[in-house]
């Protein structure tokens, strides 16, 4: 009774106020609701657009081969099966490649971010001659397509030498083409995947930390390195986490650097690229099927494989979403 009374009073109040404002309030409320509805529809559509391929892959990956050609089956499979996963896992040698990828991505990302932090800090906090020039070089690194220099780097690692030392000692240059060393060397020199971008972001973050903090540390007798480790690093945790996550994820899915500079080690990204051929070979040689697997089924296996590659990343994203997004959006990237 009481509640209803307040409700009617509120409604009366609304119409009362609307009358007093000469219809303005009603117009505004209607407009508000309209905007909300349009926004909801738009966002729903766009979210669906982005999520649909993943959902589609999930559904395809649990279909039997027959369902793919069944005209009655559009999205929901008739026979649910896990055989696609088994086949994809076998063709990709999933357990082993997963371990390799995890190890490589973790160590590479750690190394890259450690080095990029040093460099970014150097650019943000010190004044030295030719600073502008070197920073222009960082920007150049961001812009140069890696394909431009790939060939020559490839040769470089084929006949690797540091100032002729190895040739002097062993009589020949080192062949690093089939090992993982080249990419670690490149990462240590900030020339890995998108490292210029990380330097840029980290520098941007360090620049925004007030200088008083550093001064105080110096006055109290802290050396340069100690100031960096004790005062600056803890402050920069958010940006370092997000750069680390990006480095990890991009390394995980990278195909170009992995196939060029990581030798013959089996990684998820490179085996995903070969998955189609692998399935064909398996059908031809093990199952003795003339002509290999059908095109549709190969695509189904590739979808399954893609899903298996990105699932760990999706899980990571679910848990570390804040780390990916928040620190970047608060760092205030400007030019």
């Amino acid at each position: 009774m009481n509640k209803a009374a307040t409700k009617t009073r509120k409604e009366n109040d609304f119409w009362e106020r609307n009358r007093k404002s000469e219809g303005y309030l009603l117009k505004k409320t209607a407009m508000d609701i309209g905007i909300r509805i349009v926004r909801a529809i738009l966002l729903f559509g766009l979210c669906f657009l982005i999520l649909q391929p993943i959902l589609n892959k999930v559904l395809i990956s649990i279909m039997r081969e027959g369902d793919l050609y069944d005209p009655l089956v559009v999205n929901v499979p008739r026979h649910v099966t896990a055989i696609n996963y088994q086949l994809a896992a076998m063709c990709m040698d999933y357990a082993k490649t997963f371990g390799n990828t995890l190890l490589i991505s973790l160590t590479i990302a750690l190394l890259q971010i450690a080095v990029c932090t040093l460099v970014g800090y150097g650019f943000a906090r010190f004044k030295f001659p030719l600073k502008g020039f070197w920073f222009a070089c960082v920007l150049l690194v961001i812009v140069v397509p890696p394909q431009t220099i790939a060939t020559s780097l490839h040769l470089h690692f084929r006949f690797f030498d540091i100032l002729g030392i190895f040739k002097l000692l062993t009589g020949s240059t080192l062949n690093l083409r089939s090992s993982v060393v080249p990419y670690y060397l490149m990462s240590a020199g900030c020339m890995g995947l998108k490292n210029g971008l990380y330097i840029f972001l980290i520098r941007q973050y360090f620049r925004n930390i007030p200088f008083d903090l550093e001064e105080a540390a110096y006055v109290d007798g802290c050396g340069t390195l100690k100031t960096f480790l004790r005062i600056m690093l803890p402050d920069a945790k958010p940006i370092l986490t997000s750069c680390f996550l990006f480095a990890f994820v991009w390394q995980w899915t990278d195909g170009f650097y992995s196939s060029m500079f990581l030798g013959n080690i089996k990684l998820l990204s490179t085996s995903l690229q070969r998955l189609g051929d692998q399935v064909g070979t398996y059908y031809k040689e093990v199952l003795q099927v003339q002509g290999g697997a059908s095109v549709g089924y190969t695509n189904c296996i590739i979808a399954t494989g893609t899903l298996m590659v990105i699932t760990p990343l999706l899980v990571l994203y679910l848990f570390a979403q804040k780390g990916f997004v928040e620190s970047l959006s608060s760092s205030g990237i400007k030019m």
């Binding site: 766009l46 979210c47 982005i50 391929p53 030295f128 812009v143 397509p145 220099i149 020199g189 205030g332």
Partner: protein
Amino acid sequence: MKKQKKLAGLQKRKAISGYLFILPFIIGFLVFMVQPLFQSLQMSLSDVKISPEGFKSVFWGIENYKRAFVIDPDFVRLLVEEIEKLGVNTLAVMVFSFFVALILNQKFKGRAFVRAVFFLPVILSSGVILGVEYDNALLSGLQETIQENANDTSITLVIQHILETASSGNSTVTRLFETVFDVVNGIYDIAITSGIQILIYLSGLQTISDSMYEAAAIEGCTSWESLWKITFPMISPMLLVNLVYTIVDFCMRSDSEVMDMINQQMTLFMDYGFASAMAWIYFAVVIVIIGISSLLLSKVVYYYE
């Protein structure tokens, strides 16, 4: 006198430690960037022959460049197409991500979820996955045929048809419509490439203080006006960052046709000289485009501080 000397000493020491901090970059840059760049420049100017013993390159001037521009039937066409696509795509991504960032900056239920979905492509559309996605186009082609056979005409197709017949006769308008339809059809590609850009715009939007909008509203400014008079100028530095990022991202994506051609020349035909020359031309074109467009855009950029 003595004090000044000590100060200079401190500055010098700081300069030295600064150099020590960026030393990894300097070494890496010299060894893994400058040297290969020069080598590939040199290769592009010479005839590279491969033999079991190694590489032999004979200097022959701009022959490779001549070949790329005058003799090769595909390169110039691909390059022009690429630039055209770059223009359309960059514009579309800039507008789309700005628009989405504006929406995502408002308060509504489920905002965290929607944001998470929009940044998902940052992870999912990188590296090999994008390439695999394109190979998978076959399957979607199959679906399209099924849909067409199923006889359901969608409203968008009808509209497209009407607009195309209405504009037939005027070739520029038809072309314009076609470009617009291409962009609309490729909205998925645009959505998955604008994750980082949305993030950058959002970071800019969050730095604009509410008091500005309040003051404008009190003065009788509608939200449409305050979008152009407040939001747009305040966010303009991000426009520049996003422009450069979008162009670079577009040119380095794995399914770029020019890049494909260069890689093919390199791996299939082992023609390193020609491949390097094409890579250099492409690189130079990209740099020029970035330079010109950011110069043009920097006229509009407004710095608040």
